[in-house]
């Protein structure tokens, strides 16, 4: 076999899917056994996958950001040895019918992978069990249970249903298998993913049938996303809401052109969707949960102060010339961070947390300074551990390190845990201020706005000065208005006159 496929394994125990985070190879790359080809994110961890074959990458079957079910082929490798060439790319229609009869590597246990034989597959393929695919190698499951010898009418029906609703074809939003996914009946199975003509047997649960009937929807027109193509309540509702194309449309993979787009294009092109539905998952999901938790447990108060930071800007200019800081980035954010650390030491109550379970307020004698960062993977708030122990140079290094790590999307969960207070720098977007939501488990977050030249009254005269706005949100359960105000005023005072840091630092 010249072209070998690698299916997404279960990298944990009992995981059923993973998100493709980063491809480390592209089509045409030469790989050795155990070269890292892709980074995936599961419910448990970020994992790098090594490839089991040596050769040339012939195809990638999932795009970054796709969530792929365990057992789905994600890459194929041409070992250059010739022999039976399995079709590598292309959508599962057309070709599938052609190849299914001749080369059916996917269903032949001995064909590709020498070790694994029947019984684990037999079980895994049947209905719901696709999770534990130890030793399945590159094989795709056959999707069919063996029939009992004494076939009753019921058994026949079950068998037919299982054939028609082969799980290989069922999940509509998983990347399409690159070749015929299995037994010769798979072309029939394809019908499941497009509207079945009226009269076809549609699998659904009674309450969902009722819901469809109430909504006046013909179930046979709704594509099922459940196990084995079962139409779920969500499918019906999505159909009712006009989300039909979501269920029946092409996968991201096809849309991205990794395969031919002819398969699904007409569905989209003809209807011209007015909405795009994006699955809520990964960092987006975590962010949403954290925001909801924070916003609805901590009563937020936000205060603002507008401050003349001309002297801070001059200081930043001077520091950029300083030998100690020669090769690091000195930014206004760095000075703000330092000011925040100094002010939190003057007001320890702001650098604290509410421990509901213990009924205690935890005042932290360290400052783990969080910096909210927009990264390729979404919003991350990594923090600088023990920022209060750092010199300006160390702080600058730590910040540069934190930002570059975040930008590369390599921020680790440990970098994000244990924060005590956070800065969000909306000024980089040219925005003046905002009412930030607390990073969960912290009592305060400082919002740093854009620094711009404004007319300002100095000693009775209007002068152009560098001015910025600071906003501070704090948790009113443990921080009262006086503490929050004093803290914010202190930060502003240091930015107004950095010499104040000598007094308080």
């Amino acid at each position: 076999m010249a072209v070998k496929h690698f299916n997404l394994p279960d990298p944990g125990e009992g995981l059923v899917e993973a998100e493709i985070v980063t491809w480390k190879v592209k089509v045409g790359d030469v790989v050795k056994v155990n070269d890292i080809i892709v980074e995936i994110e599961t419910a448990k961890s970020l994992v790098e996958l090594p490839v089991p074959y040596a050769g040339t990458v012939a195809g990638l079957f999932a795009a970054e950001g796709d969530t792929v079910e365990v057992g789905t082929p994600i890459i194929s490798v041409d070992d250059g040895l010739g022999g039976d060439v399995a079709p590598v790319t292309g959508p599962p229609t057309g070709k599938a019918a052609g190849t299914a009869g001749t080369a059916t590597p996917a269903t032949s246990p001995e064909g590709i992978e020498p070790g694994a034989t029947g019984d684990t597959t037999g079980e895994a393929a049947g209905e719901a069990r696709v999770a534990n695919l130890v030793g399945y190698g590159p094989r795709v499951t056959s999707g069919k249970r063996r029939a009992r010898k004494s076939e009753s009418l019921a058994a026949t029906t079950t068998s037919q249903v299982n054939q028609a609703f082969s799980p290989v074809a069922a999940p509509p939003d998983s990347p399409a298998p690159p070749e015929s996914p299995g037994p010769p009946e798979s072309p029939a199975a394809q019908l499941v993913t497009v509207p079945v003509p009226g009269g076809g047997k549609v699998l659904s649960k009674p309450p969902v049938r009722k819901a469809a009937k109430d909504l006046g929807i013909d179930l046979s027109l709704v594509a099922g996303s459940g196990q084995g193509g079962i139409v779920t309540r969500a499918d019906v509702e999505a159909y009712a809401a006009g989300g039909r194309a979501t269920a029946t449309g092409p996968s991201d993979l096809l849309a991205n052109g990794a395969g031919s787009t002819s398969y699904a294009e007409p569905v989209f092109a003809a209807t011209g969707e007015r909405e795009t539905r994006i699955p809520i998952k990964g960092v987006r999901k975590v962010t949403a949960q954290a925001m909801v938790t924070s916003a609805f447990t901590a009563p937020h108060v936000t205060e603002f102060i507008t401050v003349d930071v001309t002297r801070m800007m001059k200081l930043v200019d001077r520091l950029r010339q300083d030998r100690e800081l020669r090769d690091v980035k000195v930014s206004p954010l760095l000075v703000v961070a330092k000011a925040l650390v100094i002010a939190s030491r003057r007001h320890p109550g702001i650098n604290a947390a509410w421990d509901e379970a213990a009924q205690e307020i935890v005042v932290k004698n360290y400052v783990n300074l969080g910096i909210a960062a927009a990264t390729p993977r979404g919003l991350m708030v990594p923090n600088i551990k023990d920022a209060d122990q750092m010199s300006l140079r160390q702080l600058a290094d730590a910040m540069a390190n934190l930002i570059s790590t975040a930008r590369d999307g390599k921020t680790q969960p440990a970098d994000m845990s244990g924060g005590s207070i956070t800065i969000t720098n909306v000024g980089v977007f040219g925005v003046d201020s905002g009412t930030p939501i607390l990073n969960a488990g912290e009592a305060a977050i400082l919002c740093f706005g854009a620094v711009r030249q404004m007319p300002w009254v100095v000693k009775g005269k209007i002068k152009p000065r560098w001015v910025t706005q600071l906003g501070l949100s704090f948790d009113h359960r443990l921080v009262n208005g006086d503490l929050g105000s004093r803290f914010l005023a202190d930060v502003a005072a240091i930015l107004h006159d950095p010499g104040q840091a000598l007094v308080w630092g």
Binding site: F6, N7, L8, P9, D10, P11, G12, E13, V33, N34, K44, S45, L46, V47, E48, L49, P50, V51, P52, E113, P114, G115, A116, T117, G118, D119, T120, N132, L133, V134, G135, Y136, G137, R146, A147, R148, K149, S150, K385, Q412, P413, A414
Partner: protein, 395 residues
């Protein structure tokens, strides 16, 4: 009234007593209570008590320690890759603990018996267990595919700490066989029970300590303190250094640099000698580090900082032995190259062997349940055979 005043010491005294008890050992690495014969830089240092136990090691032995560690690390890496490729359900990596395992296993005699956890791939290797057999359990084709009595290496035990009870029981059996303290080096035997810092908190392990002490059983408790019980750091599991726990049970404990194969060998050899000669149990705490994840299902970046891992990289067990072999001219580059080649060959053998591992016969699940035939098992076997025969087609 006055009774109470006598019975309850002032709080300050209690606090001071606890503080004295749990005061951290000032310098764990390199401290006085830390047995080390080879520094992380590969420099040989002497120890007043333990240097003599490695005096008779030949250069061949030392090169053998190196080869063992490199090969087992390569095997471990290949198994991890196989898991990531869907060929194993799970794998527990030994990365970083090679010296602790090789040093202790090489200190055993053939009649000694080892009771492992599920991470003792290095011990299995030294005991002569075919490494492919280790994969069978993780591939799900058997329940530990070796005969424990063939190599005196018990089956992997996944239940945390349970094997320490089995080990003590076996050691008590040795006593009943009168194979302790006879002075005959081929007859006297001892048992070594492996466990980790996390297991030290298990009831089973503590009960084992009690039984071993009260029966004076010939057993060495070998704790690989790899600093992490999955996500729990060792500081959260114990107030005092683990080796000091032995004192409370009434037998000696020692802490050894677990990344120093020579020190581990020396300490284990001394402890096994003492056990064989009838001097009873001992606890060895091999101070080491789990460089990888707990298992392939775990992601250590979620709970530990990379700086800690970087510190331990500098204490690598293989690098320090290589440095020593090189500087003392006990091995040349050709030797190191040959070991690398052998390691790569081993990896290929392991990969091919794993992929071609036959699935078990379905009916074999009824084998090896009881020593003798059992009517209930026979009935179940027959019933299941009839059930599987009721399906069409080949199995």
């Amino acid at each position: 009234m006055s009774d109470k005043e006598v019975a309850v010491p002032p709080e300050a005294d209690h606090a001071a007593a606890v503080a004295a008890l749990i005061a951290p050992v000032p310098e764990i690495i390199g401290g006085a209570e830390f047995v080390q014969l080879l520094t992380p830089e590969g420099e040989r240092v002497e120890h007043p008590e333990y240097s003599r136990y490695i005096a008779d090691l030949t250069d061949d032995d030392l090169r053998g320690f190196y080869r063992d560690q490199v090969l087992i690390r390569r095997f471990d890496a290949e198994a991890t890759a196989l898991q990531r490729q869907g060929e194993l359900g799970l794998w527990a990596s030994l990365l970083g603990q090679e010296a602790a395992q090789v040093g202790s296993a090489r200190a055993m005699r053939s009649q000694d018996y080892a009771f492992p956890t599920y991470r003792e791939h290095g011990v299995a290797w030294c005991r002569g267990v075919n490494p492919l057999n280790l994969l069978g359990m993780f591939r799900g084709v058997n329940h530990g595919g070796w005969d424990p009595n063939e190599n005196n290496f018990h089956l992997y035990t996944v239940v945390i700490g349970a094997q320490t009870l089995h080990a003590v029981g076996y050691a008590m059996g040795i006593q009943h066989d009168h194979a302790v303290g006879t002075g005959d080096p081929d007859r006297d035997a001892a048992v070594i029970a492996y466990f980790g810092d996390g297991a030290s908190a298990q009831g089973d392990v503590n009960e084992s300590f009690v039984y071993a002490a009260s029966t004076n059983a010939p057993v060495v408790f070998f704790c690989q303190n790899n600093q992490w019980a999955i996500s729990q750091p060792v500081e959260r599991q114990t107030r005092i250094p683990l080796y000091q726990r032995a004192r409370g049970f009434g037998f000696p404990g020692v802490r050894v640099d677990g990344n120093d194969v020579l020190a581990v060998y020396a300490v284990t050899k001394a402890a096994m000698n003492a056990a064989r000669s009838g001097q009873g149990p001992m606890l060895i705490e091999a101070y080491t580090y789990r460089m990888g994840a707990h298992t392939t299902s775990d992601d250590p970046t979620k709970y530990r900082i990379s700086a800690e891992v970087e510190v331990w990289k500098l204490r690598d067990p293989i690098a320090r032995l290589k440095a020593y072999l090189t500087s003392s001219r006990k091995a040349d580059p050709a030797f190191f190259d040959a070991v690398e080649v052998e390691a790569d060959e081993l990896a290929v053998t392991i990969r091919d062997g794993c992929l071609s591992m036959p699935d078990p016969e379905l009916m074999s699940m009824f084998d090896n349940i009881y020593v003798e035939d059992h009517p209930l098992i026979e009935a179940e076997r027959a019933g299941f055979a009839a059930y599987t025969a009721s399906f069409e087609g080949e199995h």
